[in-house]
């Protein structure tokens, strides 16, 4: 068997294994389970504990902006 044929065989094998693995992820909803059980709780925890600006302290200047009036 030539080197190229071997390589092709190997490549097919890798593609096949990858396909089967991905199909398993797809079929058994492993992506959904990972996201639901691991990623989302982690991110929620992260967001819940983030320091946030107190938006009620945002200035409310009466004359900061002009009257946008063009009278076309």
């Amino acid at each position: 068997m030539s080197k190229f044929a071997k390589f092709l065989f190997k490549l097919c094998g890798i593609v096949l294994v990858l396909n089967v693995a991905l199909f398993a992820v797809f079929f058994f909803d492993l992506d959904g389970k990972l996201l639901f059980n691991v990623v989302e709780p982690f991110l929620k925890n992260h967001y819940d504990n983030m320091e946030r600006r107190d938006t009620l302290q945002t200035p409310y200047d009466m004359d900061k902006f002009p009257k946008y009036d063009y009278n076309t």
């Binding site: 959904g32 600006r53 063009y70």
Partner: protein, 535 residues
């Protein structure tokens, strides 16, 4: 064991109805979470199509979109900073699963392309926000920031067409709030609670509450130097602008649309307001109005509208329409409100091919249809895929919905005056306005469309906090009785799944179908299941 049947089920998937030894879709879901014990086996061709052409294709293209539109670094920064992107958009394939559950053949393919269009447009917008966001770039107002225009999500994207060759517009709420509810209904609850925590009562429209809440929680990127806002569609939208103005604190132009849009007198005023808005954009950007660019974009949008009319024609007069109720509704409202964009044309081309094949071969795309349903008023955002469930469980096929029908026009581009006049008309027919909060008689256009689309049943959305629709509740009851129309109500509170749960919506439909219609479910496993924790 019947080998012949097993092989047939393996190749084609199990049949739909219980009578034929059905597929029992409710059994493949985990209790509460709605995750799949295993994804549905739709037969070899459709499962493989779903695996390769939907699941894998969309995962790959999402990554490609992110790389092309703003890059991975901006995306990661955005995920770590903003709840709405991290918590919501990562499980996007489950959104596909819920909307496409049980679909086969052309219906699966056509509907999936609609989802692809929406995902790409969503990525485009949040990546633009992150690329421009001063918070993710050390407070620097970079070139992307200076070339981005922020707007309220009810401002039609066409307002910015004249600058679309140099600037991109991104609505403040469409991605951080509106689309999130469909994909992951949990996220928005944080924003509703946030705005109520500063004293807002719980009764205003929850959609507007959430739009204000993202600002209260400081979860809106600082991505543009100016804002254009609008009064559409209702009182709460007007008031939300007031809160947003406080927290965003940027030059803001209000583009109010006249309420009495049937009155020919109001058009002149509306046209002048739009021109004023364009002056504001010229002033703020320093870039003049580009008529040629405007015409180019309007023509492109007209092309999308013409295809939509073709779709309506097929939906109304044949059984070969390959789009399910949820894909039709979401794609159409997204496309018409956001305005023209390349991906819509790409997806429409794909859908056209599928639809033309269905029509030519007279393929019955939803073969288990028992009732052709028109869905009226505003839909529950957290359960927009109820119609997929309703078809699978009861054979209720939602042919068309109110949101799809609102912008029923093309724009003239022969003269500036004509274009402006049509833009005014289009904008006054804002989402949720024309046939929901707008004039009473427009809500009752239901009967015309019901006839036009050959529907025999109405799914009447009952948005509990929409004053415009609630104000007509009794008249609809009277009319349904008087006309002897089969109609079931779907109470909900737009994004807030806590007010009326998905299970409660299903229970109401189940009750109607069994006690009023005296029908048996196609798939009894879908009658009652617990998806209380589902995205």
């Amino acid at each position: 064991m019947n080998i012949k049947k097993t092989l047939k089920d393996f190749w084609y998937g199990k049949p739909h109805s219980a009578e034929e030894g059905g597929r029992r879709l409710g059994d493949i879901m985990e209790d509460k979470t709605g995750l799949y014990k295993h994804r549905e086996w739709r037969g070899v061709p459709d499962t493989m199509y779903y695996f390769y052409n939907i699941w894998l294709y969309n995962y790959i293209h999402m990554v490609m979109d992110i790389m092309q539109m703003g890059g991975l670094v901006n995306f990661v920064k955005g995920v770590l900073r903003y709840r709405w992107v991290g918590q919501t958009y990562l499980p996007v394939m489950h959104w596909f699963d819920r909307g496409l559950q049980g679909m086969r053949g052309a219906a699966l393919r056509g509907s999936a392309w609609h989802y692809r269009g929406m995902v790409s447009t969503t990525i485009r917008q949040f990546q633009r926000m992150f690329a421009a966001d001063t918070r993710l770039h050390g407070g620097v107002q970079n070139d992307v920031y200076k070339h981005t225009i922020a707007s309220n999500e009810t401002v039609w994207g066409g307002m910015f067409y004249p600058w679309s060759d140099k600037f991109m517009y991104v609505p403040m709420e469409m991605i951080p709030y509106f689309v999130t509810c469909h994909v992951n209904s949990h996220t928005v609850l944080n924003y509703i609670d946030a705005v109520q925590s500063i004293g807002l009562p719980g009764d205003p429209c929850p959609m507007c509450q959430a739009e204000a809440g993202i600002f209260v929680l400081d979860d809106v990127p600082d991505y543009a130097p100016m804002v254009v806002t609008c009064n559409e569609a209702c009182d709460a939208s007007v008031s939300t602008s007031t809160l947003q103005d406080w927290f965003f604190d940027k030059p803001l132009y209000s583009l109010p649309m006249p309420m009495q849009f049937d009155d020919p007198l109001v058009k002149k005023y509306c046209m002048r307001e739009i021109e004023n808005c364009w002056k504001f954009i010229e002033d703020q950007t320093g870039v003049p109005f580009n008529w040629d660019q405007m015409v180019k974009k309007l023509e492109a949008q007209n092309e999308l509208q013409r295809f939509e009319w073709e779709k309506w024609e097929v939906a109304a007069n044949t059984n070969s329409y390959p789009i399910n109720g949820v894909a039709q509704a979401l794609y159409r409202i997204y496309q018409t409100q956001y305005g023209d964009w390349e991906i819509w044309h790409f997806c429409d081309k794909k859908v056209r091919k599928i639809m033309e094949k269905c029509v030519a071969k007279k393929i019955n795309t939803f073969p288990q249809t028992r009732h052709r349903v028109i869905a009226w008023s505003c839909a529950p955002l957290y359960y927009s895929n109820w119609c997929t469930w309703a078809y699978n469980c009861w054979g209720l096929n939602v042919i068309i919905n109110m949101d799809s029908l609102m912008f029923n026009m093309t724009m003239r581009t022969d003269t500036y005056e004509h274009a402006l006049e049509d833009c005014a008309q289009y904008h006054m027919w804002a989402p949720m306005r024309r046939m929901a909060v707008g004039g009473m008689k427009h809500m009752f256009e239901l009967w015309e469309y019901m006839e036009k689309f050959n529907c025999d049943m109405v799914a009447m959305y009952d948005q509990l906090q929409c004053k415009g629709v609630q104000g007509l509740h009794g008249l609809f009851e009277d009319e349904f009785r008087d006309r002897n129309v089969h109609a079931f109500w779907i109470p909900h509170a737009l994004p807030d799944s806590r007010t009326v749960s998905r299970a409660e919506i299903r229970r109401l439909i189940n009750d109607y179908m069994s006690t009023v219609m005296h029908e048996e479910p196609l798939d009894p496993s879908l009658l009652d299941f617990d998806d209380s924790m589902t995205w």
